[in-house]
């Protein structure tokens, strides 16, 4: 065991801290993702290597060689400074690495720079009403007509579709082929005629999701990533990425610390919450679980740094356990506050860091999203434990 990153990284950490110290005032405050302050902040991060760090500079990134430890230090320091790590979104987290992997040179040149700088916003057209966990059964169709694909169908859970400029979309192009071989990966503008976006309000009251309808949407033939019929493989080149990033141990730790602080400040019948044994034991139980997941994440990190160390099972369980734990941390903060725990939106009684109810629900959303936790258990049992798939059941006519 060697938990140090080595002294050569101390300088790097100091550099990151210095940057954070000097640029606190640059963090966008308008809340508008497309505002000039957000764009400026994003550019500042990229220019200093704290966003798009490993994206080649010819495509507008910082162009540093991949270094897992440096990336981790950046993440740790931004979280502990409570400063935004810049723009996220599926264009940056999903499409950009996909294009780097399988896109044409023209596609890389056209899309990556404006995407990472926040000038093109993307949404992801994967799930459909009839294709959720069984994504490969999707039925939105694209038919070639001359030099254009003609797209018809419906997507759902398209986060941010209402302010997206472009969509990357899985469509069925070969209806006769087996389901995993008949899908293509298309890119098209959201202002193309025939697209209708209907907001879908979620349980937290926010309309980030949408239903997106396509009626004879015409897409230039060359706006396809990878070969025709290879869309499933294209989408899967980076699907693992999404799951890893859903519940960061650093952020869960920060929230648990916020609960602890709240327990010292708040009281019940004049007694501090932390002094009430049943509450304290519940906190300690969650702290133990949090520790185990944080150490597990260190093992996963280590396996990426040290060839020959296998931590595939440890990695497979992170989405399942991370989202469940975070949901419970938020839920505990609610419980120990009694009726005050119900406070929402502008309620002045909201205590501590706040956001307990919305985060509690948001993480329930993440327990379902990104491959439901039941699907995660299928993956763990089938790929991790080599247990057989559920046999197919004949459909009743």
């Amino acid at each position: 065991m060697d938990l140090s990153f080595g002294s050569e990284y101390d300088d790097f950490r100091a550099e990151v801290r210095g940057f954070l110290q000097n640029n606190k005032d640059k963090v966008p405050t308008s809340g508008n993702m497309r505002g000039q302050d957000a764009l400026d902040y994003q550019k500042l991060l990229i220019d200093n290597g704290y966003a798009a760090r490993t994206i080649p500079s010819e495509y507008g990134g910082f162009g540093a060689p991949p270094n897992i430890i440096q990336s981790r230090i950046i993440g740790e320091e931004f979280v502990s400074a409570r400063m935004s790590q810049g723009m996220g979104g599926q264009g940056i987290s999903m499409l950009t690495p996909t294009l780097l992997e399988v896109g044409t040179e023209e596609q890389k040149q056209q899309f990556i720079r404006p995407t990472i700088h926040g000038e093109i916003n993307w949404c992801q057209g994967y799930s459909e009403p009839g294709a959720g966990s069984d994504l490969a059964s999707l039925s939105t169709a694209a038919v070639l007509d001359g030099d254009e694909w003609v797209v018809n169908g419906q997507k759902i859970w398209t986060s941010g579709a209402h302010h997206a400029d472009w969509i990357f979309c899985l469509v069925r192009t070969e209806p006769e082929a087996p389901k995993h071989q008949g899908i293509s990966f298309l890119l098209f503008r959201m202002d193309t005629p025939g697209i209708e976006v209907r907001p879908l309000v979620d349980m937290t009251g926010v309309a980030n999701f949408n239903e997106t309808f396509f009626t004879d949407v015409r897409v230039p033939k060359d706006q396809i990533v990878g070969a025709r019929g290879q869309g499933w493989q294209v989408a899967n080149t980076i699907l693992g990425h999404e799951r890893d990033s859903l519940a960061s141990p650093n952020q869960t730790l920060a929230r648990l610390q916020a609960v602890t602080a709240m327990m010292k400040d708040e009281s019940l019948n004049g007694e501090r919450l932390i002094d009430i044994p049943v509450y304290r034991d519940r906190l300690m139980r969650l702290q133990g679980r949090e520790m185990s997941l944080r150490f597990n994440e260190m093992r996963v990190l280590s396996s990426r740094l040290n060839e020959g160390q296998d931590a595939s099972l440890a990695r497979m369980i992170t989405k399942l356990q991370g989202t469940e734990l975070r949901h419970e941390v938020e839920g505990m903060a609610i419980d120990i506050m009694g009726e005050i725990g119900l406070s929402y939106e502008d309620n002045p009684y909201t205590r501590g860091e706040g956001g307990w109810q919305s985060q509690y629900m948001y993480y329930l959303g993440l327990i379902i999203g990104g491959g439901t936790n039941q699907i995660q258990k299928n993956i763990i049992s089938e790929r991790g434990l080599d247990m057989p798939r559920e046999p197919k059941v004949e459909k009743k006519q």
């Binding site: 065991m1 990153f5 932390i274 093992r299 280590s302 995660q376 798939r389």
Partner: protein, 355 residues
Amino acid sequence: MQFGLSEEQTLLQDNVNRFLKDNVPLDRVRAYAEGGDDSDIWQGLAELGLAALLVPEDQGGIGLGALDAAIVAECLGYHVAPAPFLGTAVMAPTALSLSEGDHSELLGQIIAGEKRVGIAFGEAVGRRNDAGLSVEGGKISGKSIFAFDADADYYLVADHTHNLHLVDSADKGLQRKPLTTVDKSRRTVEILYDNAIAMPVSNDPAVYEGTLDVGRVVLAADTLGAAQNMIDQSVAYAKQREQFNRVIASFQAVKHMCAQMTADLEPCRSMVWMAGHALADLADEARVTACHTKAHLAEVGKSVSKTATEVHGGMGFTDLLGLHYWFKRIGANRQWLGAPELVREEAARLQGLAA
């Protein structure tokens, strides 16, 4: 940065597992449970060097650390092996080598596998019933309950002030009575002391704490191994047991039980490694991590042992399969040296969150 076992540690793990696989199959455990002896097992393990593991090199030992002890304990738990490892090879050498006195003779006998040292920590961790000790003028009187193991030549006794003493089992003022517990892979005793000679080991709280912490981490590691074995058995059983014309491993109800056990236990492995490492190298975090590791492994062990038994259906409930040996071992590890609520309260105190 490397969060994992070294090559030497993997080799240690392989060696211990090979020995246990060859020499301590379930039938051997059953023989012990029915009243047999474990001295051949301990002799074999001592020959592998396990009795010398934590003894410092300048006292003739191997001088390894808590993580190495945890690796061995994981193997012992995996095989539900009867052995006095916890007291003789872990807690006693830790206390004796941390203390200021010269214990080289006894340490030499421990290394050679000639002497076993049990532990009587119950009164220090939390006094119950009519157990209680008084030590005056080098003599000890009173009672310890659930001391481990039953066949020790000496006992390392912690009194309620956390002072440590060594008592000779052959002392005329000492009487042992076997205490049957649900876990028959290890035996515990009641000890009655009547003016027995109490050789002082240490009055330094740090020695008591260091000894207790390593004991707790090793018990957590034993649970890790036992729970891993229960998962392995469950997955294997589910792949061959057929119902409704298919192996039950193809039912999501069963797969999800196995996946949940794995998802719960895999972080425990990381936690045990970290706890072992912290005891040697991260003084600030060591104590809290040891407490949380003991408590968390107890909780996960409890749910894995229940779920694994359920995966086996009625067979899990029988003696035929012997799955219950692991169930009970995990249950005993949970209670020894502080059950979860008690240990979590200690974790809170260590962080200044409880009085």
